[in-house]
Amino acid sequence: MGLLLPILLTAGAPLRAEAPVSKEYQVKAVFLFNFAQFVQWPPKSFTSAGDPFYIGILGEDPFDAFLDETVKGEKVDGHPLVIRRYGNVEEATGCQILFISRSEAGRMADILSSLKGRNILTVADSGNFIENGGVVYFVTEGKKIHFKISLEAAKQAKLTISSQVLRLAQIAGPGKE
């Protein structure tokens, strides 16, 4: 039932006052960073202990520099966080988290099918994402941003998502809204 509780976005201090990015994407950037903390990737995702942890953005970047600011100097299990921006999906196969921009909403099925079998936490806020095998889907209801998670997709990508996060999310499967 906790999963159905609405997530209240604090109205408190903006992350960056001068940032041209909308508040919505500021929150989503922080959430992306948080997922890096609460999700476990299979060990084979990294070849060595010092490998960077890539957060990729496919298509148009809605975060501008905000995401770079958020992860600057941060590490996940010793891996330094690095942001990558990709024009097409073939380039994006090496990242751990991939945010698929609204600009790619029409090609969602193709993109996701080409990422099938990769250990990538796919995140999107548009298109038929979950139905096509996406993992985390941001839903905005008024001012609140919450997310749906497809356990099946996560399982296929061999990702382990913290139960604390699952407690906050709506669980969805493909073909299910």
Binding site: I7, Q37, K75
Partner: protein
């Protein structure tokens, strides 16, 4: 009350209760302190843990800014009543979620701080961390009501336990303090009782072995000592009183005026008076008037000399009016506080004085009448004052002749001239008395030897009043003594110089004489001790040198008792003669003229040399006797005159079965048949007459126990130096066995030769017979093959019969060969397992067994030393027989079994092997016959065979040192029993 003055009981109780209370309080104080610390620490720990759990659970909520979820996590705290409030701060320290939901924000610290107890509550701050990122802080605030409740419970429990412990300590102290206080109180009670009643017989009861017990014991010991001392004092007083009261002497105590303070019952008894006659009375009423001045003098002297004994003799008046002489001894003990007066000891001497007077008168009379001694008195100058009968008798003067004369008249003129009489008197004055022996002169001028004692007589003051002279005529005595001395010296000289030991003892057993020879032989001189000690002192033994001679049998002791001993042999074995000396001793009693025994004498001499000689002879004899007795040949000696046996040895006893005692003194006619005795006697006589040795190589003799024997006898005459025959010596050797062996040997040799010849014959004959036989068979065969068709029926019949006879003969010859081979082709004995042998035999007979439908049952069989081939032959024959002699129509049933017969030694073990069948059997009268060669019980037509099989069996078994026998029941079956030894022994089988 001061603790020092408290009764012991209370003192002990107070000490115990104070101690236990102090211990309890201290214990509880430390317990509560410990609880306080540990409760606080535990509570802090437990809330820290809780805060950590909440922090871990709220990490995502903080990260994803989900206040509702955070509130939800905090809401779990509502189960704990001690929780006041709680909240979550975000990473900037702003309150993010609260519990309870309606908690006013003022309740929370504005920013996270330090955990700890403050203001009666517990604050916990716990950071929320994800990875290495701090997301916020958890704050918990708990009230301390739980602790307060615990402290209240502890306080009540402490109060209860302390009270209960105190009560228990009180009860235990009450009971246990008795252990200490009771003995002390009992001791105190006893001491009080003793001092109250002055009764030292009371004893304190001892209640344990601790110090109090020791104290009680010491106290009791002290009481015993006091009691003993008191009793001793009382006894000594009683003894003292009883001494005084029972004393014959009277005791009186008086003051310095002479007035009696105490008189003893013995004193009142002495004078027939009562106590009141003395107490307070003047001495004038009791003391003889004539003695009063003396008594007054003595009294004064006593008073002058305290502690000194003063003696006096005076008279006291008896109740009956008579006067009693008393000897009084007084001592002044006025200064002695225990007495405080003059003590007088009074002894009644009236009777004693009367006796003394009688004695004085008697003595004077006696002296006057004594005849053997001259007793007379002299005045200080040596003039004779008195003269007795003895003096008159010895010296020849009458009293009237001599009184008033000087003693010089008794001395020879030469002695008198030298003032000998005066010298003697002066010596007597000087020494009190003088003794002298010397020649004196009688009135008639003759001289005599006098033994004289002169005693000087002095009064109390030491002034010479005269002499008393006692003289005796010792002339005869001295003469006799001189003679005796000479005789004794002579006797001594004789005894010293003779070689025999001489010892004389008086009737008391004291040695009077022990001459030199005696000391030399015995090795010891005379010793005190008496007859009972002699055996031990001198080592007197019987001739065996081992049995001590009983004291009563000692020759000297017997002599003293009046018994004589003649040439008794004894051995003296003592320290100087450790090997023992044999002696011959003779003893005689010593008797005086009247026959009274007054001692005994023994004379003895050393027999060592004689004994040695005797010993040598005895040893030679023993040696010869030993030879004679142990020689295995019969030896006898007959006297030459009547030919009676005089000696006969052990071997002779054994041979003839007649004891030596029965033999000696008799002759041959007493033991042997007349003819035999005649024969022996004739030989004896011829030997004695010719004086030459006779050798009889063989003579027969009939003995009692051994039957007829053959002897080889030598007879030898024994002659004196003149050549006259004295004895006949016979030596006989029993050669019966020798002869028998010899005969047996001859017989065996003959038998062996004949056996060998027989074997050779059979062997050669069999071989030689076989040759023509084979021809008969071969040509018979040719005849049948080539001309069989041309022969008529009768011819064919003849030919068949001939061939069949030839075949039978072939078998016969083979069987005979087999029989001889049992001995000629024998193999050495080796261990053979009969089971294996039987298996082979049965396999050989397999065809016949199955043809006959026979059943063969073989039990467990032993392994033994044997010739395997022959064993096989044996069983082949026996089982073959059993198959052969089957009952018509009945399948043979054969049984082979073994039985062990244990001997006393392993080499004696044997086996019983049995072969049983259910065949036609046989009559037991043929049981021996069947083992003989060619013996058949049945016709050839009935059962085939040559009749040699069982003979072979017997031969095989005998070669193995065993035996074979058979038993049969006609129509039912037969049993063959073979006995075989386990081992063949060293001699092995006969080849």
């Amino acid at each position: 009350m001061n603790l020092k003055d408290m009764p012991i009981r209370q003192k002990l109780m107070s000490v115990n209760l104070l101690t236990s209370s102090a211990v309890l309080l201290l214990t509880w104080a430390s317990f509560i302190a410990y609880e306080f610390i540990s409760l606080h620490r535990n509570m802090l720990q437990s809330y820290m843990t809780r805060a950590q759990i909440i922090a871990a659970n709220s990490a995502a909520a903080l990260a994803f800014q989900n206040q509702a979820d955070a509130a939800n996590v905090l809401d779990a705290l509502k189960l704990d009543k001690r929780m006041n409030v709680a909240c979550l701060y975000d990473d900037k320290g702003t309150v993010f979620a609260v519990y309870p939901a309606d908690a006013p924000s003022a309740t929370f610290p504005p920013a996270p701080g330090e955990s700890g107890y403050r203001d009666g509550r517990l604050d916990i701050f716990e950071p929320v961390v994800q990875g290495d990122r701090k997301l916020g802080t958890v704050y918990l605030q708990a009230n301390l009501s739980a602790l307060t409740d615990r402290y209240a419970a502890y306080a009540w429990l402490a109060l209860g336990v302390v009270t209960a412990s105190f009560l228990l300590a009180y009860l235990l102290s009450r009971i246990l303090q008795g252990q200490i206080s009771r003995p002390i109180l009992a001791l105190a009670g006893t001491a009080k009782a003793i001092s109250d009643h002055q009764d030292f017989s009371i004893r304190a009861e001892k209640l344990g072995k601790d110090e109090t017990g020791s104290l009680t014991e010491a106290f009791n010991r002290m009481l015993s000592e006091i009691q003993d001392r008191e009793q001793a004092l009382r006894k000594s007083e009683e003894r003292f009183r009883s001494l005084i009261e029972n004393n014959q002497d009277g005791i009186a105590v008086s003051n310095s005026e002479g007035e009696a303070l105490y008189v003893s019952p013995s004193l009142t008894r002495m004078l027939g008076r009562v106590e009141s006659d003395f107490i307070g009375k003047s001495r004038k009423d009791l003391v003889h008037p004539d003695d009063l001045p003396l008594v007054a003098d003595k009294m004064a002297e006593t008073l002058r000399n305290p502690g000194k004994t003063i003696q006096a003799r005076y008279r006291l008046k008896h109740q009956d009016g008579s006067w009693r002489w008393i000897d009084m001894t007084a001592i002044n003990l006025i200064d002695n506080p225990a007495v405080g007066g003059i003590v007088r000891n009074i002894q009644d001497i009236t009777e004693k004085l009367k006796m003394e007077e009688i004695v004085r008168l008697g003595e004077a009379q006696a002296i006057a009448t004594i005849k053997d001694y001259a007793i007379f008195m002299l005045d200080p100058q040596g003039k004779i004052l008195t003269w007795n009968a003895g003096a008159e008798h010895i010296k020849g003067y009458k009293a009237s002749d001599i009184i008033g004369k000087s003693i010089s008249v008794f001395y020879a003129p030469e002695d008198a001239a030298q003032s000998r009489p005066q010298e003697l008197l002066q010596t007597a004055v000087r020494n009190g008395r003088v003794e002298d022996e010397g020649w004196r002169v009688r009135k008639d001028g003759s001289r005599f030897l006098a033994d004289v004692v002169i005693t000087a007589l002095k009064n109390e003051k030491g002034e010479l009043r005269g002499f008393i002279k006692i003289a005796r005529d010792v002339t005869e005595i001295r003469k006799a003594q001189q003679e005796l001395r000479e005789k004794t010296q002579l006797l001594d000289s004789i005894l010293r110089n003779i070689g025999d030991g001489v010892v004389v003892a008086n009737e008391k057993g004291e040695f009077i004489l022990f001459n030199q020879a005696a000391e030399k032989i015995v090795g010891l001189g005379p010793m005190a001790g008496g007859p009972d000690q002699w055996t031990e002192q001198y080592g007197v033994f019987r001739p065996d040198g081992k049995t001590p001679l009983p004291a009563a049998e000692n020759p000297l002791a017997k002599a003293i008792r009046g018994e004589s001993t003649n040439d008794m042999e004894l051995v003296l074995k003592n320290h100087p003669n450790p090997n023992g000396i044999p002696i011959s001793i003779t003893g005689r009693p010593l008797k005086d003229e009247k026959g009274a025994i007054h001692g005994g004498v023994t004379v003895f001499h050393d027999m060592t040399e004689r004994k040695k000689a005797e010993q040598a002879i005895l040893q030679t004899n023993d040696f010869l006797n030993a030879v004679l007795e142990n020689i295995p040949n019969m030896i006898f000696v007959k006297d030459a005159k009547e030919l009676r046996f005089v000696n006969f040895n052990k071997a002779g006893e054994d041979l003839l079965g007649i004891k030596r005692g029965d033999m000696i003194g008799k002759n041959d006619y007493d033991f042997f048949p007349r003819g035999q005795a005649d024969f022996f006697t004739a030989k004896d006589r011829s030997v004695l007459n010719e004086g030459k040795l006779l050798d009889i190589p063989e003579e027969s003799i009939e003995t009692k126990t051994l039957g007829p024997r053959i002897l080889h006898t030598r007879k030898i005459p024994i002659r004196d130096k003149d050549g006259k025959s004295l004895y006949l010596l016979g030596i006989s050797e029993d050669i019966t066995e020798q002869k028998r062996q010899q005969e047996l040997r001859t017989y065996t040799q003959a038998l062996e030769v004949s056996n060998k010849e027989l074997q050779d014959f059979v062997f050669i004959a069999s071989h030689d017979l076989q040759e023509p036989l084979r021809k008969i068979q071969s040509f018979g065969e040719f005849l049948k093959e080539e001309y069989g068709g041309k022969l008529e029926a009768t011819g064919k019949d003849y030919l068949d019969r001939m061939r069949s006879a030839a075949t039978r003969m072939q078998i016969l010859i083979n069987d005979l060969l087999t029989l001889t081979r049992v001995t000629t082709k024998a193999k050495p004995f080796v261990p053979v397992d009969l089971s294996v042998v039987l298996r082979d035999v049965l396999s050989d007979l397999e065809v016949r067994i199955s043809e006959k439908n026979a059943k063969v049952d073989v039990g467990p069989l032993p392994t033994l030393e044997a010739d395997a081939t022959q064993m096989r032959q044996l069983f082949q024959n026996l089982i073959g027989n059993a198959l052969k002699f089957q009952k018509t129509g009945v399948p043979p049933e054969i049984k082979v079994e073994a039985e062990t017969l244990e001997g006393s030694r392993p080499g004696e073990r044997q086996y019983n092997l049995r072969v049983k069948d259910n065949g036609i059997g046989f009559d037991n009268k043929y049981a021996d016959q069947i083992f003989k060669v060619f013996e058949r019980l049945h016709g050839r037509d009935e059962y085939e065979g040559t009749g040699i099989g069982l003979a072979v069996c017997r031969k095989v078994v005998e070669r193995h040192g065993g035996s074979i026998s058979a038993e049969g029941i006609p129509g039912q079956g037969s049993v063959f029993t073979i006995v075989l030894p386990f081992q063949q022994g060293l001699k092995g089988g006969k080849a």
